[in-house]
Every structure is written in structure tokens, then in C-alpha cells.
């Protein structure tokens, strides 16, 4: 019989995740006594910073929340404000926002697969070490990541904290020559993205099935990016303005990020949840590539998230190319808007999962209140539940170092963006 030892593992700084977090695990008498994903990155108060600002400043301000997924923040924000102002920016803007969002998925997913996740599968500590044995794959990853950045730069002026998006559309439309060049890059990337799907599926992924609820957007036949209803595999089907009736954020003492629960329970957002709920919306070649991997859906193994990310890169390259093949320069890249006071709601699919925004706007166009629920705070309770099950199933008799490595891998499956999630602080002063 395995030795039942007491274990105390502290991973003070999680490696290869976006932002600063830690893992604490206490095992007593063969059972997990305490497990915490600690998020100690300072809270960032973005919602408070937005108060009093003009609605037109919101897209540029929220882009600053995250250097990896600024477009997602911009897309949820403009959708919320346009929803309030009852503006429909038209098919050109809708299509180009989708292209821009594809750029962000490509760069963020490529970064995660190659820089953060892949080294795990080859026993490497970093992408530099991985590049010694898998140079071609790392090179392919960098090429895809650069392509994603180029798409963002086309619409956003620059790839980090882009500034091209405005309420009502874009500040400028790309010139035809720029789009031509990008189309050639996208065509060249199609086979690379398809090969990436097969490569990730060929990795030695642990078997670890768990029960969980997947939540994602869904919209009449298109793979979800910029719009849709919120659905789950446990019968949720709501418009995004009903989010607050079904999802509640709660504070936990060990985290500066809130835990968001769906009807009081943890749930999953992100690539695997999207695929579980929207696999039928993938274009035929992407669907065929996924089917050829033999992975059964709905998939309950979080380690397959890396494959889901690769599938979404392939989808995003395909989708951006499809939309840019039909590109024409518009008369105007935006529509004028009329301020309306009230509450507006927006929800889009950030690379890491659904990103929900609410803005209460006053009659002068200033933001009275903002609420942002990022994907990492939605996944946080699920990550802790996963860790408990995964480490118990893996075997608590393993060496501390092995338990630590497995724990970090479980966390990385969610690609948590801790910097995005930390936007809350409850200050308690205890005096005696």
C-alpha cells in the first residue's frame, strides 16, 4: 500500500502563465485537505477608472487591460455600448471585427501552445529548450503568432493595445493593397495551421475525464466570436443581458480575482467549451481535421484544450481568409451614433473564453458604472475543482516535484490570464 504522507506543496510563482499567481496544496492522511489557486497580482481597478469617462474613450481604455487579448476587451465594450445606443454598424464592420478577432485568436493561441504549454509535453522548462529539439514546430508557432499580430496591426494600427476600434465601427479601413498582402500570408498559413492540429493531437496527452458544464456563445450557424446567445450543455440559453441573473461573482480570501459561478457551481469557458458547444459550426476542412484526430466530443478531458486551441487557430485562419477574400473598401468605416442613457451589455469570445461587459451610461455620454467579467475569473473555481480531482486521480503518492508539475499543467490547460482577472480588492483592516 502506498505510503500516506502529509504533503505541503507551495508553488510560489506559477511559471508559464500570464500574470502572477501561486498554488498551495495541503494533503493530510492521503486526502487533499486544502487547495488554493492564489492570485496575488495587485487588483487593477479598471472598472472604477472607467467611471466618469466618455463612452468614446472606452475602447482604447479597455484595450489596456490585457496585452495578449486587447481586441476581446474592445469587442465586448463596443458591442455593449452599441447595444445601448441601438446602433447596427452594418455588415462591413461586423465582418471586419470578426477578422480582427481572428487575428487575436491566432496570436494568443499560438503563443500559448508554443511558449507556455508545449514545453510540458517534452519535459522542457521553456520554449528555448523545446526549440533545441523541435525547431520547425517552434518556428511554425512564431510564424502563426506573427500572422495574428499582423492582422491586429492592419485594423488596430499596432498589435499591442491597438487603437483602431471605435463605437460604431473602425477609425479607418485598410487599403486594398494591405489586404492583398495579408491574404497571401493567410493562404500560406492554412497548411501550417492544419499541421498544427495534427501535431497537438499527436502529443502524449494524459487521460483525465471530468464532469463539468461548458458555457459559450452560440449564434445561428457561425462559430462564435463577436456575438450570440450564452448557452451551456446544461440547458442554459439566454441573451447576454440576462447574464447577471444566472452568473454571480464572489470574493474568496486567497485571490484578488473574483470567482464567478453559474447557478452556484463552477463551469468552463474557453476553447474546449466552445468546441463542445459549437463543433457543428466549424467550416468543413477544419471539422475534417478535427474529426481525423479521433477525439470524441463532447470532450471532458481538459488536457485536450491544446488541440482545441490548434483547431481554433485553423478555424481563424480559414475564417479571416474567407472574409478578406470578399473585402472591399467601404464608403465609411463607421456609422455615427446617438447617445442614449441606460445599461448596455456585451459578450464576446476572448481567446480564453467568454468576456462579459456591462456599461451604465449617463445622458451626457459618460460612464456611470462599468462591470467586466473576464474569462479567467469564470474559470477560476473550475481550475480549483479540476486540480482537486486531477491530483487525486494522478496519485498523491507521487513525489512533490511531480505533483507540482502536474498541478501546473492542469492550470496551464486553462491558459489563465491572471492580469486580466485581478480587478477587485476588498480591503479589510483588522485591529485589536
Amino acid at each position: 500500500m502506498a505510503e500516506r504522507r502529509d504533503i505541503s506543496i507551495q508553488v510560489p510563482v506559477l511559471a508559464r502563465v500570464e500574470g502572477e499567481g501561486a498554488l498551495e496544496l495541503r494533503v493530510h492522511n492521503g486526502a487533499i485537505e486544502d487547495l488554493k489557486l492564489r492570485i496575488f497580482e495587485p487588483p487593477r481597478m479598471f472598472e472604477k477608472l472607467l467611471e466618469g469617462r466618455d463612452y468614446s474613450e472606452v475602447p482604447d481604455m479597455v484595450a489596456r487591460i490585457c496585452g495578449i487579448c486587447p481586441v476581446a476587451y474592445q469587442m465586448s465594450a463596443v458591442q455593449a455600448i452599441e447595444n445601448l445606443f441601438r446602433v447596427e454598424p452594418g455588415p462591413w464592420v461586423s465582418a471586419m471585427r470578426r477578422v480582427l478577432y481572428c487575428g487575436e485568436w491566432i496570436q494568443s493561441h499560438s503563443l500559448h501552445i508554443h511558449m507556455l504549454a508545449a514545453p510540458d509535453f517534452f519535459g522542457c522548462s521553456s520554449v528555448v529548450e523545446l526549440a533545441r529539439t523541435h525547431a520547425a514546430e517552434v518556428r511554425r508557432g512564431l510564424t502563426l503568432q506573427a500572422l495574428g499580430n499582423d492582422i491586429i496591426r492592419l485594423f488596430g494600427g499596432r498589435s499591442v493595445h491597438p487603437v483602431g476600434v471605435r463605437v460604431g465601427g473602425f477609425h479607418r479601413a485598410p487599403a486594398m493593397a494591405e489586404v492583398h498582402a495579408l491574404r497571401a500570408q493567410l493562404r500560406a498559413a492554412l497548411p501550417q495551421a492544419e499541421a498544427l492540429v495534427h501535431w497537438t493531437a499527436s502529443l502524449d496527452l494524459p487521460e483525465s475525464e471530468q464532469e463539468f458544464t461548458s458555457v459559450a456563445l452560440r449564434h445561428s450557424g457561425e462559430y462564435p466570436l463577436t456575438r450570440g446567445r450564452l448557452v451551456s450543455d446544461s440547458k442554459l440559453d439566454i441573451s447576454v443581458d440576462r447574464f447577471e441573473a444566472h452568473f454571480t461573482e464572489q470574493q474568496v480570501p486567497h485571490s484578488t480575482a473574483l470567482h464567478c459561478l453559474h447557478d452556484g457551481r463552477p463551469y468552463l469557458v474557453g476553447p474546449l467549451a466552445r468546441l463542445n458547444l459549437n463543433r457543428d459550426c466549424l467550416p468543413a476542412p477544419v471539422r475534417a481535421a478535427l474529426d481525423s484526430t479521433g477525439i470524441r466530443f463532447p470532450c471532458r478531458n481538459m488536457h485536450y484544450s491544446i488541440v482545441a486551441r490548434a483547431v481554433e487557430i485553423y478555424f481563424a485562419v480559414h475564417e479571416a481568409l474567407r472574409l478578406l477574400e470578399a473585402y472591399s473598401e467601404p464608403d465609411s468605416p463607421f456609422v455615427e451614433v446617438q447617445i442614449r442613457a441606460g445599461a448596455g451589455f456585451g459578450c464576446t469570445e476572448a481567446p480564453r473564453g467568454t468576456l462579459w461587459h456591462r456599461y451604465d451610461v449617463a445622458t451626457d455620454g459618460s460612464v456611470a458604472r462599468a462591470r467586466i467579467v473576464p474569462p479567467t475569473s469564470q474559470n477560476q473555481a473550475r481550475i480549483e475543482a479540476d486540480l482537486r480531482q486531477a491530483l487525486q486521480a494522478y496519485g498523491l503518492e507521487h513525489e512533490d516535484a511531480a505533483l507540482r508539475r502536474r498541478g501546473e499543467r492542469v492550470i496551464r490547460n486553462y491558459d489563465p490570464c491572471i492580469s486580466c482577472a485581478t480587478h477587485f480588492l476588498d480591503l479589510r483592516v483588522m485591529r485589536s
Binding site: 500570464e18 507556455l116 521553456s126 533545441r132
Partner: protein
């Protein structure tokens, strides 16, 4: 066509981290560089590019990178480092994938430019806001002059 020389400023909008951007702007307006390099020099300013720094130098023969440096020296100290003098540091996230890691990745992938040099100034880590600290600001003209002199040597050796 390959660029003979690319000068890349790496940074962010914040405090002394702006150094790379400010330096490249000054070099773009440098009469000395225009006289020796003319159209053979290209410039780029990048906001924390991480591993994608490789994409910005892969089509250049010679590369000069200007970045903020923290080595423990007094703020304002100027540095000139060649690849062998850079220690690769362990990066804990892609947020922390800095110049040293990008260089190491380029070395492993065989994507190092034939000539790569880093110019930098030791920053004041407490400097915040959107302007440079006094020690960095004072040191900047000498840094620009050193880069102009190095580019002048390229010109004398027939690079352009």
C-alpha cells in the same frame, strides 16, 4: 530586399522603459546617420515584442537594439553589449519573455543576425509616468552619439 542595418527600439510607454522608443526617434532624425546610411537603415519601435522580436530582425544583416537595462549599475550608466555578454534569464511568463530569452531562442533556431549589438541605459526602476528620469535623460545624447559612431564604422568598412 534585405536591410543592411535595422535599428530597433524596444520599450513601453511607461517611465524609463520608454528609452528605446525615444532613442530611435532621435536616431531617425540624426543628420549623422542620414549622411552615412541614407536609405540603407530601417527603424522599428516595438512594445515588448517577446519572441516576435525574431520576426523583426530576420531580414536584416545588422541589427542594433536599444532597450532599457537593469543590471544594478547606477541609473544613467550606458551599456553596449554583444550577444555573448547577454546572460539568458529564466522567464516565468510570456510577460517576462524579454530580450535575453528572445536572443537565446534566436541562437537555438539559428536566426541570429550576423551582427547584433544592444545599446542601453541603466534605468531608474522607480521612475513612473510618461517621461524619462533625469539620469536617463542626461545620458541619452551620449548614447545616441555612440550609436552614430558605430554606424559610422559600418560605413567606413563598406557596409552601406
Amino acid at each position: 530586399m534585405r536591410d543592411r542595418l535595422r535599428i530597433i527600439g524596444v520599450g513601453s510607454p511607461f517611465g524609463d522603459d520608454r528609452l528605446g522608443w525615444v532613442a530611435v526617434e532621435m536616431l531617425q532624425n540624426s543628420a549623422a546617420l542620414a549622411a552615412v546610411g541614407g536609405g540603407s537603415i530601417s527603424f522599428a519601435v516595438l512594445d515588448r515584442p517577446g519572441a516576435l522580436l525574431l520576426a523583426h530582425w530576420h531580414d536584416a544583416d545588422r541589427v542594433i537594439v536599444v532597450d532599457a537595462v537593469r543590471s544594478g549599475a547606477p541609473p544613467g550608466t550606458r551599456h553596449r553589449l554583444e550577444p555573448g555578454e547577454w546572460a539568458a534569464t529564466e522567464s516565468v511568463s510570456s510577460h517576462g519573455f524579454g530580450l535575453a530569452s528572445a536572443l537565446e531562442l534566436a541562437r537555438v533556431l539559428g536566426d541570429l543576425p550576423s551582427h547584433l549589438v544592444l545599446y542601453g541605459i541603466e534605468i531608474d526602476p522607480t521612475c513612473s509616468g510618461f517621461s524619462l528620469s533625469e539620469p536617463v535623460r542626461r545620458s541619452l545624447p551620449d548614447l545616441i552619439h555612440e550609436i552614430e559612431r558605430e554606424v559610422g564604422f559600418f560605413a567606413q568598412s563598406g557596409v552601406f
